[in-house]
Amino acid sequence: MATEVHLLTHPFHPGQYVGPFTTAHPGLGGVCTFVGEVRGENGVEALELSHYEPLTLPGMKALAQRAVARFGLMGILVVHRSGVMLPGEPIVCVSAVASHRRAAFDAVDFAMDHLKSDSWFWKREKRCGTWRWIDPRPDDYAARDRW
């Protein structure tokens, strides 16, 4: 299986996905994995991600396939949370397997940049009991435009 995409509404352990994903690709040279977690800094009590199902999943699958084609991957795994998350909970896990390190590294970097700028996720943070929407940051677009 070249691409594996999961949208989850419950907490997950990255290793439970990365382990079997890696095992499913014998002969690989390298695996690069990035896991992003909810930061608890600045008094953030919770983070909520909402999304529009009819766009999110097809968009993530298309991004995964683009990464495989562009970097010649053996496979890519994308796991993304939605719903309410607490500090320390993983939000996103991207893992790429390839024959060589550079391809695996660049693919994860590429996928993370595009997930952040192109994905249909809306975020809000809870601080002091109050929810507040998070606006786009210009540097997300700059990161995407590197590619």
Binding site: S50, H51, Y52, P54, L55, P58, K116, S117, S119, W120, F121, W122, K123, R124, W133, I134, D135, P136, R137, D139, D140
Partner: protein
């Protein structure tokens, strides 16, 4: 009936994540909404998806029974 779906802060403004509306040309549908909501929905940074497919602009949309029209404000950075 057709459905409007509001994402992100548009849901706060609309008071709900979605709203059932009478089918018809979008301009007529929006005219029946609270003016501040209609204005926010027509912001040029708000993308529109008709039945799960992104479409260009709101000008030519005519809602038919069963249609789902989603309003997608700029997504959050992170």
């Amino acid at each position: 009936m057709a459905r409007l779906v509001f994402l992100g802060r548009l849901a706060d403004l609309a008071g709900a994540g979605e709203r059932a509306v009478e089918p018809g040309p979008l301009a007529e549908v929006l005219a029946l909404l609270p003016p501040d909501l209609a204005i926010a929905l027509l912001d040029e940074r708000v993308r529109i998806a008709l039945n799960g497919e992104l479409v260009g602009g709101p000008e030519s949309i005519v809602l038919r029974p069963g249609d789902e029209l989603a309003f997608l404000p700029p997504v959050s950075g992170g």
